[in-house]
Symmetry: C2
Subunit: 340 residues, 2 copies
Amino acid sequence: MVRLKEIAEHVGVSITTVSRVIKNDPSRNVNPDTKKKIWKAVKELGYIPNEYARQLVLSSAQEKKHTKRIAWLASSRLAETNPYFSKIYSGINETLNDAGYTLLLISNEDLEDDVLFHQIIREKEVDGVLLIDEVDDEKLTEIKDLIPVVGVDFNYSDHAISTVDYDREEAAYQAVEHLITRGHEKIGFIGGGIGIEMTKEKRFKGFKKAMNDFELAIEKHWIINSNWCMEQSYLAAKKILSETKNNRPTAIFCAGDLLAIAAMRAAHELGLNIPSDIAFIGIDNNEMAQYIVPALTTISVPQYEMGVIAAKTLMSQIEDNPNMALKTLLPFELLVRQST
Amino acid sequence: MVRLKEIAEHVGVSITTVSRVIKNDPSRNVNPDTKKKIWKAVKELGYIPNEYARQLVLSSAQEKKHTKRIAWLASSRLAETNPYFSKIYSGINETLNDAGYTLLLISNEDLEDDVLFHQIIREKEVDGVLLIDEVDDEKLTEIKDLIPVVGVDFNYSDHAISTVDYDREEAAYQAVEHLITRGHEKIGFIGGGIGIEMTKEKRFKGFKKAMNDFELAIEKHWIINSNWCMEQSYLAAKKILSETKNNRPTAIFCAGDLLAIAAMRAAHELGLNIPSDIAFIGIDNNEMAQYIVPALTTISVPQYEMGVIAAKTLMSQIEDNPNMALKTLLPFELLVRQST
DNA sequence: ATAGGAATTGAAAACGGTTGCAAGGGAATG
DNA sequence: CATTCCCTTGCAACCGTTTTCAATTCCTAT
């Protein structure tokens, strides 16, 4: 390992001078010739500053340097399954990268490990944390006092942290309203809801509110929790739609496009026509939604923008440190296609 | 900041002893009572070891400590668009996490930035690099001498680095062969190929080989480069399939399921029946493939396993350091469904 | 009792930088 | 020619750990 010392000897100056040149310290002036010679030696010898030694000195003076790293905290299951998140990720990553940050991926489950938690959060291996999934309350309470935190794609947390989301209750309301204006009265709901009580699920709330506002009855066994799993959505839909015409819904609101696609398959296999026998509406505007047959009516959510804004919010919290808990809501849009 | 010194003073022992207790050094024995007292003080004062000071000492003795971080190097465009990669990612992430590693996401484009490159690769902010996309040759040559590298989901690189992939030429061959055994003779090809000359694309090679082996003619304007973009695949398919019956293919081999789905939409809009008028086969076995109507015949690729093995390969290169360039190929499987 | 060994502890020297302070040298000024 | 000042440079202390080595105490076996 090349050290300052070797450069100093090679050039014939003191370590101090070399250090000053390399740090490009503007408050100290070094003879241009010396400077040139030192840089030459640095290149030749392939010197790389020892970050540890540097920080050691600084650690007492100023507070610990920013690492320019940010943790993306999500349950691994989630990131893996849903293309929905890759768009959010895209927005986050591009924004962060432009600002010189890099993303560290940590799955929620791993954070249970105390060692990791200690190392990453307490020792500030990262400057901030982006929450995609809900973390359990206890952990969140612990984290949010130690390090800036911004949540994306959810907002039902009671904690005082910044979140970026769309108004999912209103989105669901409009989706159901759309079905109702199309004349539907018997409407089912296929939700995701991993470990979240349905009651907390805003999309379900929106569904209920719309049904109530239009004085329509909610049929309990048309309410499905799919665990965000296409297979489950498919099976559930198959079950519901196998009933006789009077006992099955005429429309189903799915909390995700993928769930809708799976459910539509079930309808197709049962020989039902979409949308005349059974209509479907999703949420997400997955790229696929427009290509499947029939194209899926859905609510387009600004995933990319959510990522961008979440990243910006977090960076401003890190850099300017205003500990305000901002709740940002982004606009969405109903896209009517062939499935309704 | 709480330092060893303060603990030492608080307990009334030397810094040395405190250090030994905290490191839990088994080769040195410390009086159990002292140990207990020290731990108590550590907890009370909230001591957190200064990683910089620690590493500074170690940096000369052994080589620089492993950071337990690994960089995932991919073009941002790629990760964003294709659910295909999230499965690979899943395999990688889970395997790494189990071994105590975390993933750092770096987009290919950002690495062009010399500062980032220097910091991440040269200063060993990570222990190793996973390549998903091809990096440009120059960069790769530079990286692979500095740090362990493993490539996933490609193997046409001439460089001596380890790769994990499936035999994509053979997979393509079997896909086309399947179409041919179904009686098709006029077969089109929709490929991805971002910035890669088609000739380098193994899937295209497999396609050509099969066509040649069965003595079928390749129609040039049935060969499309979609840039992995569903929209382009859709448009291209629409153009080809608008021709009169004699001038259009009876089957199309798509280098990805998503491309196939988009192309099928085009066929549908033109009123063509799948598979009797036009058959489709994809590659990937995207989760969606089985749910669309008609379900897509495709080649299932062990994405998750590829991720797992790539991660393991990289870890063994980091830890055991055998600089061998292993080329691992995983098995795939033809899944015949309704689109052929 | 006493030598020898094991258990326990501490002093001090690194590790590779940064930085306050002071000194040397030359040019400018009186 | 003496004085002052600025430019340039180096000395040395320090950052918070780890670790070598030696010192001290306490047993145990003779």
